[in-house]
């Protein structure tokens, strides 16, 4: 066999570009969502759960819930951060691979809402972790949650891998 001047797979740069294009195609708008409740009244959960029913059907957009933050691209936080859940929220956030996105859902997560004066409350979500998209409403409609997730994903190119 003669030594080949070219790699059998062709130009490395070309290969890299093709792989990147294929990966983009495979992962196009596909996002795994981890939902965490850090002190909500469960009305927000009810609306978030409605996203996966046949009517709102967020799977058609390539969005899926995952039970583990290790597999998640996006953290959906609902409720005001309570003292008991602050460390859990931080641990969940730190367990996520980078780049990671955070969407705060509901007035509680944005501002504190009706629980803001409680002594067991740390504060809104942005006091603990950085937030990419804000979804107002008490509870927000599933449309608003969906739009929050999509706007955070569109925000994604601005998220650097090394943070």
């Amino acid at each position: 066999m003669t030594t080949e001047t070219h790699h059998p797979l062709g130009d490395w740069e070309q290969l890299e570009q093709n792989t990147a294009a294929a990966l983009r195609k495979v992962f196009h708008r596909s996002i795994y969502v981890r939902h965490i409740d850090v002190g909500s009244c469960n009305a927000c959960e009810s609306e978030i759960l409605a996203l996966s029913n046949p009517y709102y059907n967020f799977h058609r957009l390539g969005l899926f819930f995952t039970p583990s933050p290790r597999h998640a691209d996006l953290l959906l936080v609902s409720g005001v951060v309570t003292r008991a859940m602050k460390d859990v929220l931080l641990a969940t956030y730190n367990a996520m691979p980078r780049p990671r996105l955070v969407v705060a859902t509901g007035v509680c997560a944005l501002h504190g809402g009706i629980f803001r004066n409680s002594s067991w409350v740390v504060g809104p979500v942005d006091r603990v972790i950085p937030v990419d998209a804000w979804v107002p409403g008490c509870p927000p409609t599933p449309y608003a949650v969906l739009q929050g997730i999509l706007s955070a994903v569109q925000h994604r190119p601005e998220v650097s891998v090394c943070e």
């Binding site: 969407v103 107002p136 449309y143 608003a144």
Partner: protein
């Protein structure tokens, strides 16, 4: 019951919403939903107590007029029921999510401001 669902789904020809690909269509269909209050006219009355009426402190007033922080509004409807000037009205905005929190602050600017 399940048969009824199937039948109504077939009859309407639609089981899944087409948001966001046909956003306008969805907004049109929900135009009568009471989602969140919105300031429709500016207000400079300091004698009212809508700030104290609001359970989450979403309403604030200063020299420039009235402000509604939609990041804090729980849509209880008290301000709409109590305001004698009709400053607030229900709006049907279903997609309010933003990537900057300050965009949620709504101002009722006066046209006579200098």
């Amino acid at each position: 019951m399940f048969a009824n669902w199937l039948r109504s789904g077939w009859a309407s020809g639609r089981v899944t919403t087409d948001y966001p690909s046909r956003r306008e269509h969805v907004l049109e269909k929900h135009h009568n939903w009471n989602i969140i209050p919105s300031i429709i006219t500016p207000c400079h009355r300091f004698e009212c107590e809508c700030q104290d009426l609001c359970p989450t402190g979403a309403i604030s007033k200063d020299k420039t007029g009235i402000q509604l922080d939609r990041a804090a509004c729980i849509a209880c409807g008290r301000c709409i029921a109590q305001c004698p000037q009709g400053v607030f009205a229900w709006s049907a905005d279903i997609d309010l999510a933003v990537t900057r929190k300050d965009l949620l602050r709504q101002r009722g600017e006066s046209r006579h401001d200098h």
